[in-house]
C-alpha cells in the first residue's frame, strides 16, 4: 500500500503537487435493469415485485411512501445543515437498477459477470483472492444487488447470518419484520422515509446469543448507474452477549450529475452485546471545481440495551455533501455509546456530520471524538447532540471536537447541542482548532521527509485517535485515503 512520490518538491506555500484524477474513476458497462424514471406508488410496487417481497414489506414501503409525500408537501426536507446544494428533483432520477444477471443470482464467483469482477479488481475488492481476504467475508453490493458472499458456510456453523437484505427478507422474514424500523422508523426523517419506500438492497447480519463473530464482516458499496440513487438498507442485530465487528467501505466512479445516496443503517444491540461498526467512505467528491459528486444523506442509528455497547468509527473522505449522524440510543442501564470520526473536505466538498447520544438508562456512558479536516474551499461542520433524559442517573459523556485547517479558504464549524435533564449527569466538552504549522513542516522536511509525506504524517498523526479504532487493514486504507484525498491541497 505504499506509494512513493517522485514529484518535484518545493516548500513554498503554493506547492503544486500533481493533482491526481479521482483514482477509482471508471465506469462499468453492465446493462442495468431499471425501474422507470421518477418516484410513484407504481415504482415502489415495481421494486417490491422485482424482489418478490412479501405483502407486509410492500405495505411498509407504501406507508413510508405516503408519509414521504406528506413530508414533501410540507417542505420537510431538512434545511438546518450547513450545506448548500441545488433543489433535488425527485422525479428526475431512477430508483432501482440491478445488474442484468440479478434474476439468476450467481451461485459462485465463477458465475459472476466478468466485467463486474474487473470493476471489483479496480476497486481493490479481492473477491477472488481468498487468501488475501483471510478473515473477512465480503458481501458486495453492486448497484443495489448482492453478487457474492464468501465465508457463508463458516458463519453458518456458528449460527451467524450474514447476507444481503433481500435474502434476509426471503430466508429470515421474522427477524427482519421484528427489527426493521425498530430503531429508525419509517417516519424518522425525510431521507430515511424516502429510503424506507424505495430501498433496493443492503446487508443483514444476525449474531446469536453469546456468539462472538470470529471475523470482520465486510461490505463494499458502489454507486454505478448514471442518475440512479442508491438506497441501501442495513440491519445488524447482536443478540444477548454477542459481539460483531462490521466494516463498510465505499468508492464510486466519476459521474457528472450529482447522485443522491440516502441509506439507512439500524443496529440492534441486545443485553450485554457489542456492535462495532466501521466505515471508510470514499465516494466521488465532485471535480476540483465542485461539479458533480455524491450527496450522502444517511441515517445511522443504534439501540443499546442493558450493558450493551455500540461503537461507530468513520473516516469520511468522499462525497460532495455528507449529511450523517451515526447515533446511539442508550436505552439500557450501563450501556455504552462511542463515536469516532474523521471527516475530510477538500476542494468544494461539504460535510455536516456528527452524532447523537441519547442517554435513557442509568450509568450510561458515551464518548465522542470528532475530527474535521478542511482544505481547499471545503466546509466542515461537527453537529452533535448529547441528551440526558430524566431517568439517566449518573450518565457521563466526554466530547472532543478538533478541527484542522489547511489553507485559508476553507471553514470549520462546531455545533454542539447539549440537553441535560438529570442533575447527576457529568458532561465534558473539549474543542480545538489548529493548522498544519510551518514549524511542523519544516521540522519534518529538515529530516529529509518530502513536503507531501510531511503533510500526510502530520494529518494522520492528528487523526490517530480515530484511525486506531479501525481494524488494522482498514486503518492502512484510511490513512492512504487521507493522503490521496488531500493531493493538490497541501503545500
Amino acid at each position: 500500500m505504499t506509494t512513493s512520490s517522485k514529484q518535484p518538491q518545493k516548500i513554498s506555500r503554493n506547492t503544486d503537487l500533481s493533482d491526481q484524477e479521482y483514482r477509482w474513476g471508471f465506469v462499468t458497462d453492465v446493462d442495468a435493469d431499471m425501474a422507470p424514471k421518477g418516484l410513484s406508488e407504481d415504482v415502489v410496487r415495481f421494486i417490491s415485485a422485482r424482489k418478490s417481497e412479501p405483502e407486509w414489506l410492500l405495505e411498509w414501503r407504501l406507508k413510508a411512501y405516503r408519509h414521504w409525500l406528506t413530508l414533501q408537501a410540507s417542505d420537510a426536507e431538512p434545511k438546518w445543515a450547513k450545506v448548500k446544494y441545488p433543489p433535488i428533483d425527485y422525479q428526475d432520477m431512477f430508483y432501482y437498477s440491478a445488474p442484468k444477471r440479478a434474476e439468476d443470482a450467481p451461485q459462485s464467483l465463477d458465475e459472476v459477470d466478468p466485467e463486474l469482477l474487473e470493476a471489483f479488481e479496480k476497486l481493490g475488492v479481492p473477491l477472488h483472492e481468498r487468501e488475501k481476504l483471510a478473515g473477512v467475508a465480503v458481501d458486495a453490493v453492486f448497484d443495489s444487488v448482492s453478487v457474492a458472499t464468501t465465508f457463508a458456510a463458516k458463519l453458518e456453523e456458528l449460527g451467524i447470518i450474514f447476507c444481503s437484505f433481500s435474502e434476509a427478507v426471503k430466508n429470515h422474514p421474522d427477524l427482519v419484520r421484528k427489527h426493521l424500523g425498530s430503531v429508525v422508523p419509517y417516519t424518522d426523517n425525510f431521507f430515511a422515509t424516502l429510503n424506507s419506500a424505495v430501498f433496493s438492497d443492503g446487508s443483514f447480519a444476525y449474531v446469536p446469543p453469546g456468539v462472538r463473530c470470529p471475523i470482520e464482516l465486510m461490505t463494499y458499496f458502489r454507486i454505478n448507474t448514471e442518475g440512479s440513487g442508491q438506497f441501501e438498507r442495513t440491519l445488524i442485530i447482536a443478540d444477548k452477549g454477542a459481539f460483531v465487528s462490521y466494516l463498510e467501505g465505499c468508492t464510486a466512479p466519476i459521474r457528472r450529475t450529482s447522485q443522491l445516496h440516502a441509506a439507512v443503517v439500524e443496529l440492534v444491540a441486545l443485553d450485554d452485546s457489542e456492535i462495532k461498526y466501521s466505515t471508510v467512505q470514499n465516494w466521488f467528491p465532485g471535480t476540483k471545481e465542485g461539479v458533480g459528486g455524491v450527496y450522502n444523506f444517511v441515517t445511522k442509528r443504534g439501540r443499546a440495551d442493558r450493558a450493551a455497547k455500540i461503537s461507530w468509527t468513520q473516516v469520511e473522505t468522499g462525497s460532495a455533501i455528507t449529511w450523517k449522524y451515526p447515533s446511539v440510543i442508550l436505552r439500557g442501564d450501563n450501556s455504552v455509546g462511542e463515536f469516532y470520526s474523521v471527516a475530510l473536505t477538500n476542494n468544494y466538498q461539504q460535510a455536516d456530520t456528527g452524532t447523537k447520544m441519547i442517554h435513557i438508562g442509568k450509568n450510561t456512558k458515551s464518548t465522542i471524538v470528532a475530527k474535521g479536516i478542511s482544505a481547499g474551499h471545503g466546509q466542515n461542520t461537527y453537529r452533535g447532540q448529547v441528551k440526558i433524559m430524566p431517568g439517566a442517573e449518573n450518565a457521563t459523556n466526554h466530547t472532543q471536537c478538533d478541527s484542522l485547517l489547511i489553507g485559508d479558504k476553507c471553514g470549520a464549524h462546531t455545533v454542539p447541542y447539549i440537553e441535560v435533564q438529570n442533575p447527576t449527569a457529568r458532561l465534558e466538552h473539549e474543542a480545538s482548532t489548529s493548522k498544519v504549522s510551518d514549524d511542523q513542516l519544516f521540522y519534518l522536511m529538515q529530516r529529509g521527509i518530502s513536503d507531501e509525506e510531511a503533510h500526510h504524517m502530520i494529518i494522520t498523526g492528528w487523526s490517530r485517535d480515530v484511525i486506531k479504532e479501525l481494524p488494522f487493514e482498514f486503518a492502512m486504507e484510511a490513512s492512504q485515503l487521507l493522503k490521496v484525498s488531500l493531493e493538490g491541497a497541501v503545500g
Binding site: S4, Q9, K10, I11, S12, R13, S437, D438, D439, Q440, F442, Y443, L444, M445, Q446, R447, G448, I449, S450, D451, E453, A454, M457, I458, T460, G461, W462, S463, R464, D465
Partner: protein, 260 residues
Amino acid sequence: MLEVTNLHARVVDAEDGEILKGLNLTVKSGEIHAIMGPNGSGKSTFANVLAGRPDYEVTEGDIKLDGESILETPPNERAHKGIFLAFQYPAEIPGVRPWQFMKAALDSRNEAHGEKKLSVREFSKLFDSKVAEVKINPDLMKRSLNEGFSGGEKKRNEMLQLAILEPRLAVLDETDSGLDVDAMGIVANAVNALRSPERSFIIVTHYVRLLHHITPDIVHVLADGRLVETGGPELAEEVEREGYKRFLSGQEAEPAPAGA
C-alpha cells in the same frame, strides 16, 4: 565542504532589512566551528538559512556544499545531502511517534541515495541502541513526537536524531539553551562521539559553557549579520571574560554569562 560567501538574508515579506549582511565562512571536513554572538546578531537565522527554512530568503551571496550551490535545494534534499539542524525549539507533532518519524527520515534518505531501506527489525535495533546511547527515557519514545517533553528532553531527542541520521554537517542551534549540567553533558557526549574526519559541526551559541565540553577547532563571533572575528578556543574564553562589548561598536553592550 561548506563554503558560505557574502551571504545576505532576510525574513520573507518582512518590512525590516537584512539580518545577515555579508557572512563568509568556510568549514572543512572534520572541523568543529563555534559561532558565538549576542542576541539578535543573526545566529539562528544563519542556522536556519543553511537548512533552507522557507521563512527566510537569500538576497545575495551563495552557500556551496562540496562546490555546488544549494540555494535552490529544498530542505528535505539538503537533509539528503547530509545537513542536519538540531532545532532550538523542536516542533511538537501529535500522533506521530519518534520511531515512525526517524524511520521515515532514514527511509527518505536511503531512497534518495538509491540505497536499500532498513527493515522494521533492522531499524528497531538501530533505534533502540541509539536510545540507550543518548540515555533518553525510553518511555518518551511511546509518546507523540516532542509532545509533553521537557526542554531538556527535547534537546536530548534532537541528539538522538543526530545519532541516528549521522549527518555530514550538523548545525546545533543554541542546543545548550535551557539545559542543566547533565543535559549539557549528554549533548556534548553525542557530539564528541560523532566527531570524525568526515563530519563537521557548526555550534551556534550565545554562551560559552557548551564549549567547555566540546572543544571547537575554530571560534567565530557573529555581530550584526557578519562574522567579525575568527580565532581558536581562546576567543571563546575572551568572550567569557569580556562579553560581546568589543564587537558591538556603538550598540548596547551585553555580557555573556558563562553559565553553569
